[in-house]
Every structure is written in C-alpha cells, then in structure tokens.
C-alpha cells in the first residue's frame, strides 16, 4: 500500500441498517421504561457525576439506541448511582436500573 500522506476517514454516520441494537432490545426487555425517554436531559442536568465530567445518562441511552454499545458501556461506569436522575425524570424512566443493566451487559454484551 502506498502512503500518500492522507487516507479516507472513518465514517462518522449512524448507519441504522448495520447498527447493533441487541443491547437496546435486551434492556427494553428487562425495563420497558428505557423506551419512555423523551430526551429532555433532566437526568444529565441533575447528575452528580455530570458536575465533574461530561457523563450524560441521556447520551448513554441514546448511544445504545444507535448501536454504540462499547462506548455506552464504558461511559456508564461514570455513574455514581446516587439516584437523583430517577427522582427528576418526568417520564419515570428507571434510570438506575438501566445503569445496572448496562453494567451487567458489560459482562455479556461487550463486543
């Protein structure tokens, strides 16, 4: 191969035809509130961990819905499990349970 000093970039697009949604389905199977999210961001705004880092529960869930399993699982570890998000979520998404499910997925789903 010739090195021309440049190369095609990684494709930065969600391709829903190839996205691995197995984790999303698995979580939904165990907690249907996963689907109830309206992406309002209350969880991320109130997040104790979010004061110190860019952790966002909403983004983690979103990444799972787009098949970005590895980054979502890695990111989920920043959660302190404090439960503020559960108390503020307007759609009663069982946020802590979903974090626990994602952490459990770390043992089984991690690609």
């Amino acid at each position: 191969m010739i090195d021309f000093g440049f190369a095609p970039m990684e494709v930065s697009v969600h391709n829903m035809d190839t996205a691995d949604l197995s984790l999303a389905h698995w979580i939904n199977l165990h907690d249907e509130t996963f689907n109830h999210c309206i992406a309002c961001g209350s969880c991320a705004a109130t997040c104790t961990a979010g004061q110190f880092t860019n952790f966002s529960f909403r983004e983690v869930c979103h990444a799972i819905r787009r098949g970005e399993i590895k980054s979502a699982i890695d990111e989920s570890e920043k959660c302190m499990l404090c439960g503020k998000c559960t108390l503020v979520c307007p759609r009663n998404v069982n946020t802590r349970n979903i974090i626990m499910l994602i952490r459990k997925a770390n043992l089984t789903f991690r690609p």
Partner: protein
C-alpha cells in the same frame, strides 16, 4: 421390658441428628476466624454465657419476640418448642421414677408409656407426672393444630402471608405434625388398654376402646410414632428445622460478639442455618404488602443462599430498608448478608471515578453537607442554613458547588470497590477542609459517613445538631400548635437509631401525632429506596402512598420527615398531604429572641459550635 424393635427408627434418627449436630457445630466453630475463636474462649466463662442461656430459653423455647408480634403466633411457636421440650425433660424425669433406675437408653423416656404399663412406680408423684405429661402433650397438640390452621387462615395468627416451602421442608413439617398426634394416639391406645394415662390420654383412650380394635392398633401406633420421629430427625439437617441447633449456637456466638463481616463467613453459614423460614419477614416487607412481590424476602433469599445461590432477582429485589431485620425473631443480620451477597457481583470497576480527582471542598469549621439528594430539595438546605444563621453557627456549606456522592447507593447495591473510591475521596476532602464537625441533612450520607468513613470528627444528622443548638438556647421556637406526623427515615431510625432527637426537636414547634404503630425502629419505608433498582416509579409511589395512608394521623397538617429523599418521594407520590423536612418546619416557627438579635448585631464574629 426395656426394648422393642419399633424404637429403632427413632433411635437411628436420633443418633444421626445428634452426630450431625456435633459434627456441624464442631466444623462451624473450628472454621471461625482465629480472632473470633479467641473472643469466644475469652468470654466463655462470663456473664455472657448465662445471658446466652437465658436468651436461648427466651427465644428458642418461649419465643418472646414472636409473642410480641402476635400472641397466638407466639403461643403456636412456644407450645411446639417449649411443650415438646417439657415433654422431653419431664419424660426423662418420670422414667427415672421407675425401677430401672437412673440410666436409661435414649428411646426409653420417649416411649415410656409403652414400657411403663407393667412397672410399678417408685414414687408418689406419679400422678403429677402423668398429669403434666398429658398437659404438655395437649399444649403441643394445640400448637400443631394452630400450625395446621395457619396453613389455611394465617391472618388469624397475624400473618398475611406464610412461607411457601420446598419439598424437604414439606416432608419435615409433615413428619413433625404427625409426631404429636401419633404420640397422642399411641399413648391413648396404651392408656385405653392399661389405663396408664391421665385426663387427656385416658379420655381419648376410653373413646378409642369403644370404637377401634385396640389390639390391632397397639403396635402399629407405636411404630408410626417412632417412624415419624425418625423421619423428622433424618430430614432435620436438610430442612428448615436445622434452625433449632443452629439458632442455639448463633445465640451463644452472638453473645460473645461474633457478627457478620464485609463478606460471607462461617458465621454467615450459621446464620443461614438458623433461619426457620417462619415467614415473619414476608409481612414485614413492604414489597410484599404494597406490591405483592412475596417471593424475594429473606425467608427465600436465605434459603437459596444456604442451599446454593440466590438468583439475580432474589438478590436485587430488596429495598434494604431493614424492616425485616427488625422483625426477624432470630435476629439474623439479613440486610448485611444481602449486601455481602450483592458484593459478590461487582459491576463497576475500581477505577470508575478518576474525574473527581481535582475537586475540593472549602475550609470549614462546622461543615454542612447537603448531599446529592439534598440538592434536589433546596428548601431544606435554605431552612437548615437559616437556622444555622439564627444560631450564629460558623458553618460552611462545603458541597455548595456540588457533592461527590457519599458512596452509600453504590454500597447498598454491592458495588463496594466503586464506593470505596468515592469514600476515600470524600474522606480525604472532608479531612482537608479542617472541619470540626460534619452535619448533614441526609440520613443516607449520615449513615455512610458514620459507618464506612474513618472521620476523626463527629458526624451529625441535622436533627441532632439542631437539637443541640436548641438545648443550648441558641435557637428558640414558637409552638405553632399544628399537628404533625413524623416519619422515621429507614437510614436514620434503623440505620443510625436516631428516633428521639427529631421528635424532641419537632416538639418545640409542633404537636406530634402519629397514626400508626409502625414507627421508630418499625417505621415504614417511603419506597424511594436507593437499595433497589428493579422496581418502577409507579411501584415506588404505591409504597409511598401506602406508607402515608398507614402513618399519617388524620389530624396532621404536615408530614415531617428528616430525609430529602423521603421528602421528595412522598411529595412526588401524592398531593394530599404536604411533606416538609424538620428544618423547614422549624424555620417557619423560628423565634428570634430580642437579646439574641442584639448580640448578633454587636458581634459579627460567629460563635464556634460546641459539640460534644
């Protein structure tokens, strides 16, 4: 005659169970840690032993704790345990009144009625003994009847739900239930033939003699009785009835100071065996009473843990509110065991929270820590700080710009390695702040600070601190005359045993009125629990409203609580009653004494808090 082959099933069973108990006790004791063994030896010849004996009698035979819960239920347990015990003791004594003398084979007193009819007593108290034997047999039979009745109408005995037993328990319980009716029958048949009984057995014997062919039933009756005993003994080690020997050992070890550690130990094995699956924990559990989740309570969790591994659902479906712990007649450290079991399943790594490294708390004298949940109830923070101001406390709101979680939620969910990172960081930062006392309005944090941190300074819940200020006359309140129900948060009441301070404090401003007995150490959980993740918000709300319906006295204007999470959970669940934190109620009724105000005006330097 001193022998008959029908005694064999009993003798084999007894031999087996005695051997088993000796072996198990030895194994357990040998496997205790060196330190535990040391304290046991050290304390063996002390008052603790006497105390343990008394407790064994009190709880093992008389079942005082269960009596306290429900008289009929207590009687049922007592009649079986104490009644049987008395039958054994009296039987032994009685047998010694007869010519064969002091040394008897073990089966002899048990089947004494069989052997007795051709003997002449040596003693004038024979009449009393036969009476007592009949009396206690009647007692046991009444207990068995109640136990049988309980299977169908448990509510009469104060139990909404009873344990659903596994096969081995069903076999053992059936054997147990058969022992006494069979004994009664065998003794009655004998009494019918030989008039050896007293009011009970003779009475039945007379009835039997006219109705049944006694000669044919005589030996089969004794055989059946012996077999029932044998079956019971053989099944005992593998069934719930292992709790009988295990509980005795447990009581002694506990008295000597052995307890659960941060992971499962030999002591855990003893505790697991000491659970009789009586099912009292099921009714104590609000998951059962409010949500109909009645298969994850300690009776089942401990059972599965004893035999193998509880599944994930069993392990996780618990609010960790400790009501079962409070209710358990055996005093098994259920919540601790469950937490330890959760620890076996770490989900977070030990390097999750690198991002908090740069964070700092400001310098402080009296450090006020609102905690995560506290930040969701700013009115609690505002009122607390207003009270501090009124009392001229030189405080610093150390997590004003954000808390690092205390680690309790992670810990409750078994994520101990992860929690440790937060604990270490907070511990260091609080130490660095130079605080002399740490006050928090969150019982969750308070419990964690008090039990998992190694802080060199006192940790106070704000109710304790405010009470102290009030006692020092640095705070004055107007009595509003309003009636208020106080709700004990789990972590505060059962976790830290703080129940009187909030009440004493509140009474300065309001009149307390409780609508329920489920208070203080028995208080009901709000449902907001951080110890559970797998119930929905609707289910949490159901628990919250059930709790409010139970505890709020009709005359109450407010529900007072002392935990930001309880406050939020109750407030989110309903609109009927306003929920306020203690601090909020107190601030409303704050009375600035005139001299206080002038003092404040004169001296801008705040007084230093004096906390013992």
């Amino acid at each position: 005659m001193r022998y008959h082959p029908f005694t064999l099933p009993f003798s084999i069973g007894l031999g087996f169970i005695m051997l088993y108990i000796i072996v198990m006790w030895t194994i357990w004791i040998v496997r205790l840690s060196r330190r535990e063994q040391k304290i046991v030896w050290k304390r063996l010849f002390s008052f603790r032993t006497i105390s343990a004996i008394w407790e064994s009698i009190r709880e093992g035979l008389l079942h005082r704790n269960i009596f306290k819960r429900n008289v009929l239920l207590g009687y049922m347990h007592m009649s079986l345990a104490f009644g049987w015990f008395m039958l054994i003791v009296l039987g032994n004594l009685e047998a010694r009144l007869y010519p064969h003398g002091v040394i008897n084979p073990p089966y002899y007193p048990i089947f004494f009625e069989f052997f007795r009819h051709d003997l002449t007593p040596l003693h004038e108290y024979e009449e009393i003994f036969t009476f007592l034997m009949d009396f206690f047999l009647l007692m046991v039979i009444s207990g068995v009847s109640l136990a049988f009745f309980k299977r169908f109408r448990s509510r009469t005995l104060g139990m909404k739900r009873t344990t659903r037993h596994i096969l081995i328990d069903r076999i053992a319980i059936t054997a147990l239930w058969f022992i006494f009716p069979l004994r009664l029958f065998a003794e009655s048949v004998t009494a019918g033939l030989y008039n050896t009984g007293h009011f009970f057995t003779n009475f039945i014997g007379q009835w039997v003699i006219y109705n049944l062919p006694l000669d044919y039933l005589y030996y089969p009756a004794w055989w059946a009785y012996s077999i029932a005993l044998g079956v019971f003994f053989i099944t005992m080690p593998f069934s719930r009835y292992m709790h009988i020997p295990a509980e005795i050992l447990l009581i002694f070890l506990r008295k000597y100071g052995v307890k659960e550690k941060e992971s499962h130990s030999t002591f855990t094995k003893i505790e697991l065996s000491a659970c009789s699956r009586c099912g009292i924990c099921i009714d104590a559990c609000q998951l059962s009473t409010s949500l109909n989740i009645s298969d994850t309570q300690p009776a089942y969790f401990i059972r599965d843990l004893r035999y193998s591994q509880p599944n994930e659902r069993l392990r996780e479906t618990c609010m960790m509110c400790m009501r079962c712990l409070e209710a358990c007649p055996v005093g098994i450290e259920i919540t601790r065991i469950r937490e330890n079991e959760r620890r076996e399943h770490p989900l977070f790594s030990a390097s999750s929270y690198g991002y908090i490294n740069g964070y700092k708390y400001p310098k402080a004298k009296v450090a006020y820590f609102a905690g995560c949940m506290g930040h969701l109830t700013p009115s609690v923070i505002k009122s607390t700080l207003a009270l501090f101001d009124a009392a001229n406390v030189d405080y610093t709101f150390i997590d004003k710009n954000g808390s690092i979680c205390c680690g309790r939620p992670l810990q409750m969910n078994g994520q101990v390695e992860a929690a440790k990172q937060l604990i270490d960081k907070n511990n260091h930062l609080i130490g660095e702040s130079g605080a002399e006392v740490l006050v928090t309005s969150c019982p969750i944090c308070a419990r964690e600070f008090a039990t998992s941190y190694h802080l060199a300074i006192p940790v106070l819940h704000h109710s304790q601190f405010l009470l102290e200020l009030t006692q020092q006359k640095r705070l004055n309140f107007n009595q509003s005359g309003l009636k208020v129900t106080y709700h004990d948060p789990c972590e505060l009441s059962r976790g830290l045993h703080i129940t009187s301070e909030p009440r004493e404090l509140l009474q300065h401003a309001v009149i307390l009125s409780n609508g329920s007995k489920e208070t203080e150490s028995k208080s009901l959980c709000c449902g907001g629990s951080l110890g559970i993740t797998n119930i929905s918000m609707a289910e949490r709300n159901k628990i919250a409203t059930d709790t409010l319906n139970e505890i709020v006295a009709e005359s109450s204007s407010y529900l007072a609580t002392a935990c930001p999470m309880c406050r939020k959970t109750f407030a989110n669940a309903q609109d009927k009653i306003k929920v306020l934190d203690i601090a909020e109620i107190l601030e409303k009724n704050l009375n600035f004494a005139p001299e206080k105000v002038s003092e404040k005006n004169q001296s801008p330097i705040k007084q230093q808090a004096v906390i013992s």
